[in-house]
Symmetry: C2
């Protein structure tokens, strides 16, 4: 019921409701705002769609020289250009602009500063062996970005058009896409509400901007398995909330629990939910566990189901698909199901916990070696002398081979620029 109701976009509400609302005894500011919103959306057919062919490019006068690979720090340096597209509820999407990277100038009453009308995506582009630049599954990110936008009443857009525009942005700065295994261009599509004024309502102005940061491998010298603190005193996401969307609102509240965990020597939180202490995510990543069945000896790869509290991770989805294709079904079950910290604790005590890892765009696979829970540390096995288990290692390689163009897989890699 939640999903059904929340997926009915405000923009699709019948216009016949307007007069009813306008005459209902709403508070003045609310009614007038709401009515004007309805009026606007009634003319949806005349709104300009996002159109990549209309892009205006203002190139930077002098191109930057790429930084040496060893100086690349995640999200700290950016390419020469950014993509900006403004939205106005009365007109639709303006012509996209690619221009030199530079500051945004916004009125202090802009709604992004007050009510967190903001969402983002994280995706990467890679150099392939034939010197092309490819993006990894950008359609999945665009799909999720539109779901995020719809959930907080920001405007939606055509997926393919934004992918094309991001391609043009990368084309503009293709000399800054770093080379080498583990290196990539991190792409940050962002949407913010830009309505001015302090009323809390659907933004009538918004902006998509996309910036790009050349990045190195998350683990510069191979995996470093992490220690997690199982966290039940703070809660990242809940039913009827927005934890499955990539909204800014989901991030700031997680820093303090992370610092709490860090003060006790753990790098991240393993988020638990509800009376059963179900495991939902780790830090800002999805999480997987590998178990062995006590009776059958068969192995099982498990991650939490998409029940509205779990981010619909692109890496999560990729891992599930690859695991179902590549793992021998006689040896492995691959399941989206709830698993609790109690189950993990019990399995570990019986030697049936095989592996655990986080999964996300930044690190791809992040092996876990210990989980602090009620004063004890649950040990997760690693390969002798290594910082990951065998499955984590295989999965990371499966994905990297596709990302770096060594292996072709469906339409997962999309060519966006050519360096030849």
């Amino acid at each position: 019921m939640l999903r059904q109701l929340l997926q009915t976009s405000s923009k699709r509400l019948p216009i016949t409701k307007t007069s009813k609302l306008a005459s209902s005894p709403a508070t003045i500011s609310f009614t007038s705002r709401f009515t004007s919103r309805f009026m606007t959306t009634s003319s949806t057919t005349n709104l300009k769609p996002l159109d990549s062919s209309k892009v205006k490019i203002f190139p930077k006068e002098v191109k930057s020289t790429p930084l040496p690979n060893e100086k690349l720090v995640f999200g700290q340096t950016f390419t020469d250009h950014m993509l900006c597209i403004e939205y106005d509820a009365a007109k639709g999407w303006a012509d996209p602009v690619i221009k030199p990277y530079g500051p945004l100038s916004l009125d202090p009453s802009t709604c992004v500063f007050h009510y967190a009308f903001e969402l983002f995506e994280g995706m990467k582009a890679y150099r392939s062996p034939d010197n092309k630049i490819t993006m990894f599954r950008p359609d999945k990110n665009m799909e999720r970005m539109n779901k995020s936008a719809d959930r907080i009443c920001l405007p939606t857009f055509d997926n393919e058009e934004l992918i094309k525009l991001i391609g043009k942005l990368i084309e503009q700065d293709k000399h800054l896409v770093p080379q080498g295994q583990g290196y990539s261009l991190y792409i940050r599509p962002t949407m913010i509400g830009t309505s001015e004024g302090l009323g809390v309502h659907t933004p009538d102005k918004a902006m998509i901007f996309v910036i790009c940061s050349p990045v190195g491998p998350y683990y510069k010298t191979g995996f470093k398995a992490v220690r997690l603190e199982a966290t039940d005193y703070a809660c990242r996401a809940w039913p009827g909330g927005v934890g499955d969307k990539k909204l800014g609102a989901n991030y700031a509240p997680c820093i303090k629990p992370q610092l709490e965990a860090a003060s006790r020597g753990y790098q991240q939180n393993l988020w638990l939910f509800g009376p059963n202490k179900n495991i939902t995510e780790v830090g800002t990543m999805n999480v997987f566990f590998a178990f062995k069945n006590e009776e059958t000896g068969k192995k099982e790869l498990v991650t939490a189901p998409l029940d509205g509290t779990i981010l619909e991770g692109v890496t999560r989805d990729s891992i599930l698909q690859l695991a179902r294709e590549k793992l021998d079904p006689k040896e492995w079950d691959v399941n989206e199901r709830y698993t609790s910290i109690y189950e993990v604790e019990e399995k570990a005590s019986k030697g049936l916990l095989l592996e655990a890892f986080g999964a996300g765009t930044a690190a791809v696979v992040s092996p876990i070696k210990e989980i602090g829970w009620k004063g004890n540390d649950i040990s997760v096995p690693l390969l002798p002398g290594e910082q990951s288990g065998p499955l984590s290692k295989s999965i990371a390689k499966w994905i990297a081979d596709i990302q770096y163009g060594k292996v072709q897989k469906d339409n997962w890699s999309k060519v966006v620029a050519d360096l030849n």
Copy 2:
């Protein structure tokens, strides 16, 4: 436990943990960030505190003429000046600046745009009969603002110093504080994280800015009682979340459920929580119910307790204090306790539901006349021919008399400027 843990500020973590963390196998970007944060905070004693005496004032060349009262729209026009105070984790609070109202220029990688490092307050200043300008209980707002900041690892500050600075800001634009019953200056203190870069961590830069909007009465022609939809498919706040703090993160997610309610003819959501369908808040306000006891005939004023999911409203607190002082305890009980939609429904069916109203800074008291629940409307009594019940009306007058200086109450009104 939640409170205890979350109230231990990161800034107070012992520095001895640093070396342990630096040597723990954290992910590289995390460890270096975290260590540098700890390094910075170890020198807390050298950090400059917020100091109102250091304010630099850059007056606007030509002062604005006040708009006629009838043209004032909530949060749409602003006074001539704004207050800005920048924070740097290595230095502390910079000298405050009062300057002409104007846009903020921020790098597109600034953390406020991506991870919702943002919080705000809403407060009002009024003209008193002796032509002074007073703020209503600003100490309560500053207390809450510091709690909000601490919860998302933004810097805290001295309450009194920010009140003095807001006073200086109002002094600068005192000719724009509107006159007349129901008119006031709405004040919006805001704090945003201004660190640049895409890593998710404690911001090492932040900014307080304060803007002011001259506003008219919420109800221009007297009360307009509202219709609410009791909402259990979406959830505003959760234990272990941040629903008791005034963070931007709590607002954007509430728009879509509001539009859903509006599409069915209701102005706002009455937020329910948990299997018991406890009533928590209405829209972005606290909520009160008045019941009659079936056995004793005694009346009861009820609002939800501050359990971590309820905003600690200043109006809520003022109403509770005034009700406890002014209502005859032989006739009335004033209780902070859970009440469910089932209780409200049952009381209404027996004629024991006397009144219901929202409470917040903008409207002060917002009477409720109907509550939609499972396809039926629960009627809330109003005075014959009027848009409020008798208690709502009395409470609104008690508070207005204090706000407009007709009645003195403790230190609730603080003089910040003098027009004589």
